[in-house]
Amino acid sequence: MGSSSFLGGKVQLLSDDDIRTIDRTSRSILAKTGIGVASEPFLEIFASAGADVQRNGRVRFPGRVIDDAIERTPKRVLLHGRGGTPPLDLGGKRVHLGTGGAAIRILDLKDGRARDPRLADLADIAWLVENLDNIHFFLRPVVARDVSPNSLDVCTFHTCLANTSKHVMGSAASPETAKDVIDLATLVAGGRESLSENPIISFITSWMISPLTLDTETCKVLMTVAEAGIPVALSSAPVAGSTAPATLSGLLAQAHAEQLSGIVLAQAIRRGAPILYGTVPAVADFHTMGYAGGAIESALLNAACAQLAHSIGVPIYSDAGLTDSKLPDIQAGYEKGMNILLLALAGGNYIHHSGGMLESMLTVAYEQYVIDNDINGMALRALRGITVSPETLAEEVIASVGPGGNYLTQQHTLSHIRTDEYFVPATADRQGRVAWEMAGSIDARERARGIAREILQRPRGEFIPSDVKRQIRNRFDPADCKA
């Protein structure tokens, strides 16, 4: 679908002055405090970019080094799917929504019990998402606990690519497994060149541990991916009150500084490397110090980060759709509804976690994907706003119906009720009470379960041709995916 037609930027929490002030503060943080880098090769990379590198592992950044790196960064990144869907066109204020997470629990569709996710769940979720139009991309949502850690990355990417045609994003535990994943994607894409031109996969690297510390092991993965020319999201997740200042603007200043240092790193590794500004900010719950993904402040932070990324013109990876609830209940609904709508209106380019998530990032549920598909649909409808034109103003129709008539059977009515003018959520019930009672008095969660079951029973698509499957079998041992 033409998902890039959804334009955000309609909500601007920060004024232009606020943005300038935050950017100036971030640059001052990078010039005075700098970041911690505990690895000789990465110190050299920063030095080669013109940063001020101290032997004790502290790296500081003059303003021109940052400006040069931003200059080199692509302002538009295309992430491809397969099978004729137009690519995700990241940049500007174009909005896309998709899944996220590396959840370690899943609510069983039969009994609702929380259990370990398996590789079969990953396949089922991918197929479910393939059939949900308002989820635009597939970021691997669960860690399959029945696969040995050594083969997890390849098995995860393979399962995703085999069960959905949507763009697949994931992570790699080491440079070696990143190379394996790139080899796998090369086979599926039909060659290395084809993969670079039409990246059907991309990576997340949690390259920075807030505050301001490089995770050098993950940076090796970042290096492998950037060198291969595959798009990569520079994910960092500062939490207000624990790994960032407790004030929201303080978090923004630190988060933006972290991102600017990452942009310098990525562009020093490979000039013109396609990257995504990757803030995943949140506030802490001060009773547990846990990550409060569903807090309204976390949503505000994400919306503000979108503005900061827009201000330097780099496409942004950020998140909405988190809730701290453990199940698809009212809390899950109001938290997700608010944060998805807010970030979509703010213009997040690549909004992940917007499908299936519960318990912040720890749990997913099948029916939640179906519910979130509706929340996403409502948010996207809000983005389309209200079209004002002679046709939609309908003055002629108003004249022909006149005072006291009705519009039920007007041709104008019939030609608009099945268009973009309306979005009808599949899980919402709008019947009268009697009809609802006759249908079993069930709630949205139960309706969503029914839809999920129906989709999972549909005959599955073949997303990897059989000759490619053979090549994959020759290169990777499929038995490795069974622990």
């Binding site: 590396a102 370690i104 850690p149 092991e217 624990s242 001060f286 009773h287 110090m289 720890l362």
Partner: protein
């Protein structure tokens, strides 16, 4: 004076606690009296307030920090008259895991509760943990992991302790976002706590058992 020290701990005013403790010692107050009548009761109240939901974690930690200020003065005096800390604890994040905020929180709370804590820092190897247990003979070894990919290093440490014939001499407790009681049972740890306050309770139970 005792009440003022207690109040300053509740307020989390470290400077004031240090100043008042020094003044109390000057006046001849017994170190044990300061510990038993001011510091420990203050931290008990802090713990109760936290459990009731009236105190946030940072408000609890700041009191623990204030208590540490007094303990630095009292510790040598208490040791001189043969009063030992509640117990000795070695703590660290497992190999491959740089995430230390949860571990730091637990360490601060344990110190605030009167334990002697040796913090080995981040990415501690199995050998590192074994060596610390051998040298320091702690009652408790505490391990933390944030990632599903690194928590698998916890059983490696437990195996290494067995290998070194130290497993029987130390209680092992674990924590971190992906860790559960079921996982603790599965790998043969002695305890699991979901948050820092519960970790203090668990530790107190284990050392008094």
């Amino acid at each position: 004076m005792i009440d003022a020290i207690k109040e300053a701990v509740l307020q989390g005013d470290r400077d004031k606690v240090v100043e008042l403790t020094a003044a109390a010692l000057e006046q001849g107050t017994e170190p044990k009296e300061i510990l038993d009548q001011a510091l420990t009761p203050a931290m008990d109240i802090v713990g109760e307030e936290y459990e009731r939901g009236d105190r946030y974690v940072p408000e609890m930690l700041i009191s623990a920090e204030a208590m540490k200020g007094a303990m630095a003065q009292l510790k040598p005096l208490l040791a001189a008259v043969g009063i030992e800390p509640l117990g000795r604890i070695v703590i660290g994040t497992v190999e491959g895991d740089l995430h230390d905020i949860g571990k730091d929180l637990v360490a601060m709370m344990l110190e605030g509760a009167g334990f002697e804590v040796t913090d080995l820092g981040v990415e501690v190897t199995a050998e590192g943990f074994v060596q610390a247990v051998r040298e320091q003979q702690p009652g408790i070894l505490a391990m933390s992991a944030l990632l599903t990919t690194t928590m698998t290093n916890m059983p490696v440490v437990i195996d290494a302790l067995k290998e070194a014939e130290l497993r029987g001499k130390v209680r092992v407790i674990i924590g971190g976002a992906p860790v559960t009681q079921a996982y603790a049972d599965q790998i043969g740890a002695d305890g699991y706590a979901p948050d820092a306050a519960s970790a203090v309770k668990l530790t107190k139970q284990l050392v008094s058992a």
